[in-house]
Each structure stands twice: as structure tokens, then as C-alpha cells.
């Protein structure tokens, strides 16, 4: 019966705080955030991403503190007698050095700037383009849709890496070039989903209501349809960021992305190939940075997706040790008086 007491207390609290909430309805975003806050994985991911972003932003500060500018090599202290990189925490290099005696930690932190900037900026461009094209194709239909849908299919059908290498080789490696290439290959997946959703949403009665009021197509697309799509779009974009980060690393690894002496996780890994057998840190740390960052974005995307789905509320509500204890107590209480006693926490 303990569960009923806590449930009653909960309801009493809810009733007390109700007057303050009586006017303001909770939006989808407030509800999503409330659920997301209780998802430990998602919160950890946010912390990791923020930490990585802070380190990236303040990497010059770290470099100044360590007195190791990013592009300065230390042939004497940074390389062993045999001319090989020194291992972590020798001669004041926390993560060791690279091929020519530069501080690996500073290189990785500067690499984070490139990765996060490319990851987020390409995703923003791809999302804006993908959503707009998807909405236009889905809402207008007819030959506009046929044209755009075939274009989307075409982009998705490209052998991405081959074409990206060709394009990068043609236009020369530059940060803007890389962003353009990755964005070009990322919008189509978002577009396709937005188009499909728009096709079904435009048949809703509230769209007809908007049309009967005299709303134009753009107003309907961006004020009536788009708010209903923001959830899936946010999930898609969050999950597109790690893809873009890996894409950039791949291009840089293959030598058509960010060029030396500018560091990027991809080109650090590429250089590490020659010495990784004697200098494990040279491969492990940049790879770890890449892994942790992409994993954090992926987990955050999953967390947002779960938090968007009202059906998962029960899982989070019942999660945690306290809730588990309560549930066990409830099960015990339910077992005693008979199976007919309803259990409040497990109702679904």
C-alpha cells in the first residue's frame, strides 16, 4: 500500500502547484525536456558534449597554460633520442607528442574545434535545406514533388566517399569546401523523411482549416506543418552530427580534408599510421576523442527520440532505485490482498 500513499502525496503536491500552472500549458518541448532530464545517458552525453565544446573553445588557453602552441615542434624535449614521439606525461606533455614533437593534447583539442565546427555547421545547413526541400516537395506535390523526389533519390544513390574525394580533389581542400561537400550529402536523408511526413500531415483537417482562413502555402508549411515535424527533425539532426564528424575525419584521413599543419582528428590519425607500433598514444587518444564525441551525440539523439515519445514516460518514471523499490513494494502489496488491487505506477 506504500505506493498508494506516495501516489496520493504526489497528487497532493501536483494539486498544490496546480494554480501556478493553470494558465501556462506545457509545450511539447517542456515535456520532452522534463523526460530528458531523467535520462542519465542523455544527461551524461550533454555533459560530455558541453565539456568537449568548452575544451575546443578554450584550447588556446590550454595551450598557453602548457606553453605549447599548437604548431610548434619540440625536437629536443618532444622526441626521444631515436627521433620517436615521447610517451604521455614525459617532459610535460600530458598525452605525449606526435611525429615531429608537437604536444598531442593541444593537437587533439584544436582538432575538436574543426570536428565540432564542421559537424554542427554542416548539420545546420543540411537541416535547413533538407526541411525546406522536403516541405516544398511534400506540400506542393505534382511535378515539383516528382522532380525533387528524384533529385533526393539521386543524391542518396551517389557513392558518397568516391564523389566526395573527387570533389575535394577538384575544388582543393579547404574548410568551406569540406562543409559544402558534407552538407550536400547530408540534406537528402532529412528531406526524404520530411517529405513523407508532410505528405501525411497536409491531409489533416487543421491544414484545411488554415486554407479556409486564407493562409498561403508558405505560411501553412512553416507555421502549421513544420511545428509538427520539429521533433523528428531534431532527432535526425542530432544523429547527423556524428555522421558529419566522422565524414570530416574520413576525408582528412584520406588527405583531402583539413591539411597540415592545421590539426584535425582525421589527419592526426593518418600521420599516426607510420609510428603507431611504437607510440600507441598517438593513435589511441585522437581515436578516443572521435569515439567519445560521436558516441555522445548518438546517445543524445536516442535520448531525445525516447523523450519525444510519450510512451516512454512510464519507463523513466519507473526508472531509478527509489522507483524500483517502490515497484517491488507495490508488487508485494498487490500480492497480499489479491491480484485485483490496481497498482498506480504500473498502470499503462
Amino acid at each position: 500500500m506504500t505506493v498508494n500513499v506516495t501516489e496520493l502525496q504526489f497528487q497532493a503536491q501536483a494539486a498544490e502547484s496546480a494554480p501556478a500552472l493553470a494558465i501556462e500549458g506545457r509545450s511539447q518541448w517542456q515535456l520532452t525536456w522534463r523526460r530528458l532530464r531523467h535520462d542519465k545517458m542523455a544527461v551524461a552525453s550533454i555533459v560530455v558534449i558541453l565539456l568537449m565544446a568548452l575544451l575546443a573553445i578554450f584550447s588556446p588557453v590550454v595551450a598557453a597554460l602548457l606553453h605549447h602552441p599548437v604548431d610548434v615542434a619540440y625536437p629536443t624535449s618532444g622526441l626521444s633520442a631515436a627521433g620517436l614521439p615521447v610517451s604521455p606525461s614525459t617532459h610535460g606533455f600530458p598525452l605525449g607528442t606526435d611525429n615531429i614533437g608537437r604536444d598531442l593534447l593541444i593537437r587533439i583539442l584544436y582538432g575538436a574545434r574543426v570536428s565540432l565546427f564542421v559537424g554542427i555547421s554542416t548539420t545546420v545547413i543540411a537541416t535547413v535545406a533538407g526541411v525546406t526541400i522536403g516541405l516544398v516537395a511534400g506540400y506542393f506535390g505534382g511535378w515539383i514533388d516528382t522532380l525533387l523526389a528524384r533529385f533526393i533519390d539521386g543524391v542518396l544513390a551517389f557513392p558518397v566517399i568516391v564523389l566526395a574525394i573527387a570533389l575535394a580533389a577538384r575544388f582543393g581542400p579547404s574548410l568551406l569546401g569540406i562543409i559544402a561537400i558534407i552538407a550536400f550529402f547530408s540534406w537528402a536523408a532529412i528531406s526524404r523523411i520530411v517529405r513523407g511526413q508532410t505528405l501525411s500531415l497536409k491531409e489533416k483537417e487543421y491544414i484545411e482549416a488554415a486554407r479556409s482562413l486564407g493562409a498561403g502555402p508558405w505560411r501553412i508549411m512553416f507555421l502549421d506543418i513544420l511545428p509538427n515535424l520539429l521533433g523528428p527533425v531534431l532527432v535526425l539532426s542530432t544523429l547527423a552530427i556524428p555522421g558529419a564528424i566522422v565524414f570530416e575525419a574520413t576525408l582528412s584521413y584520406l588527405g583531402v580534408g583539413i591539411q597540415e599543419p592545421n590539426p584535425s582528428w582525421g589527419n592526426i590519425l593518418s600521420e599516426a599510421q607510420s609510428t603507431y607500433q611504437v607510440a600507441w598514444w598517438y593513435v589511441v587518444f585522437p581515436a578516443l576523442a572521435l569515439l567519445i564525441t560521436t558516441l555522445a551525440f548518438n546517445l543524445l539523439g536516442d535520448g531525445i527520440r525516447d523523450a519525444m515519445d510519450p510512451r516512454t514516460e512510464r519507463i523513466f518514471a519507473a526508472g531509478g532505485k527509489a522507483a524500483k523499490k517502490r515497484r517491488r513494494a507495490a508488487a508485494a502489496a498487490a500480492a497480499k490482498p489479491g491480484p485485483a488491487t490496481p497498482s498506480a505506477t504500473e498502470g499503462n
Partner: protein, 362 residues
Amino acid sequence: MSDIMPSDTAPIGSLERSLQDDVLVQVDNLVKHFPVRGGGLISRTIGQVQAVDGVSLTLKRGQTMGLVGETGCGKSTLARCIAGLIPVTSGKVAFDGQDITNLSRRAMQPFRREIQMIFQDPYGSLNPRRRVGSIIGDPFAIHNIHDGQKRKSAVQDLMERVGLNPEHFNRFPAEFSGGQRQRIGVARALALRPKLIICDEPVSALDVSIQAQVLNLLADLQDDFGLAYLFIAHDLEVVRHVSHDVTVMYLGRVAEQGPRATVYDSARHPYTAALLSAAPAADPEAAEARQRIILTGDVPSPINPPSGCRFHPRCPKAQELCGRDEPALETRLGDPASHLTACHFPVQDGEILARGSRRDPR
């Protein structure tokens, strides 16, 4: 078609002349066909759904026209044609004396302010992601009327007028009950002070006690603002309660049309008689005494409607003539000139129809 036209347009034309100032909406011989396309690489039209096939009606200023008929008879399609939401195949819609048939979106814009709609589904017709204040304020935003604080107070006035708490403007539709949501829909339709509100089954999704509240609200608003309603419903009692005139549709055509009292008291078309006999009566004695006419079969496909009178395969009075000749919509059996019936063998006063149809439905 050709034989329905002369008798169809004549009485309404004269009506228009005599009541010119009173007429708000004049629909003449409206036709809406939807093409049926075949599959395959190159789609070609393999048929037409004859959703609305030659309907005429006249709606007077400040009055209510009830539109009844079975599901799929073209009521909602007719409403959408009048509201200019879908293009018309042929025929004419005039609003306030001006032809509004197939106007472009821009040309239609001034008429959008005059013609509003209330929809059947109080859940589907409100955008779940927008706050109620924004939904009701939408007409103002679209037509650039009021802004900022003024729009907010206009929205709150509307909410108060339709019986909602104006403090709730910041809530989402999901936080309201079905009846409250329908009031939101009414407030939105009312915002621009239209002359006509097309109500597409506005109460059929609500439970009975709430239906009465919404109907009374609509009646009050009609008195206050001089609104005209085109009121679509399944429920004959609801239509009787709200309407001045009634149009009964069957399979895209008008079966019977006229003032409420004469249509309900002396239904001439066997289909109207069958509908009336099937409507539940509140008085148990009346229900006991009533002779129910049970129609057999389903509504035939509007892609391939029956020849002659479209009702003949299900009609208890059908004769050979009915399958051959399309009956004209005209005054029958000495009815007043405003009461029109499309039937070769109209029901006499006091006549009891045979139960069911003897013919096999197709």
C-alpha cells in the same frame, strides 16, 4: 442531366429575382467530379467519382440551410466547393451577388473573411502543436488585422464570447475537452465576423449534452451577428432544430429541398421519408406508432451511379420509369413553390410505404 436543367434552374432563378437582397449564397447546378486514375507508369483517367452532380441551392442572409444525407452523398464535397477549398468541375457559386467560382487564391482572399468553416473533428481541426491563442488569432494574422496586445485582447474577447476561459489562451488543444475544442473552432470561425459559416457536421463527434450546448451557442451567435449557416449533419433532429430550410441529398443529387416545416411534415421523396422514419424519436409512443421504412443495400458507387433516378434500386416505390428517366426537381402534389422534390411517384400525405425494397440492390 439535360432533362433536369430547365426545370431545375427556372424556380430558383425566379426566387433569386424576388429575394435578391436576401440571398447570400446562390449555388447553380454545381458539379464536382473527381477523376479516378489507373495505375501503371502513365496514369490515365479511367472514371469519374461523381461526388456532386448538379446541385442548386439558395441560402438566405442570416438563415440556416440544413444539408442531410448518408455518408458519401457529397455533402462535404459541396461544402468545400462553396468554401472554395477545391475547384469546381462546372456550375456556379455566387456569394453576395458575386461569382466566386474557381477564383485564384488571391482573388478569393476577400471572400475568405466572409466565409468560414467549422469542422467535424474537434481533435483533427486544431493544430496540436500550437497554443489556443495562436489558433484563434490565426485569422487576424493571416488577414493582418490587429497586432500585439490588441490581437491578444481580441482573441480573449472571442474566447469569452464562445464560453471559454480567456485565461486559457496559452494552453494547447490537447488540454481541452471535445466540446471546448469545438468552441475553439467556433471562436476561430467567428474571428473575422463572417456572413456565412459552413458547419461540416459540427456536433456529430460530440456527446449529446455537449451537442446541445454547442447548438445553442451557434443559435445565439446567429442572433447576435446575423450569421448564415450551411449546416451539414446526419442527425435529422439536429437539422430540424437549427434549420430554416432543408436540402436532402442522395448520391450527389438533391432529392428534396424546401422549408423545414413542409419537408419534415410532408416528406415527398421516399428517401426523405425513409430517413425520417429511421430517426430516433424522443417520445416512446410516437416511436411505437411510427412505421419504419428499412432501406436495403448500400449506397451505390458514385463512380457508376444507377440510371434514371439514382435512388431507384433501393426505393420501395420504384417502377420501371424510375430506372429510365431522371425525375426533375420540381414542385409536386400541390406543395408550396419553395418545396421541390425529385421523384416520379412522390409520397402522398398519410401514405404508408412498404417496408424495404423488393428489388435487389446492385
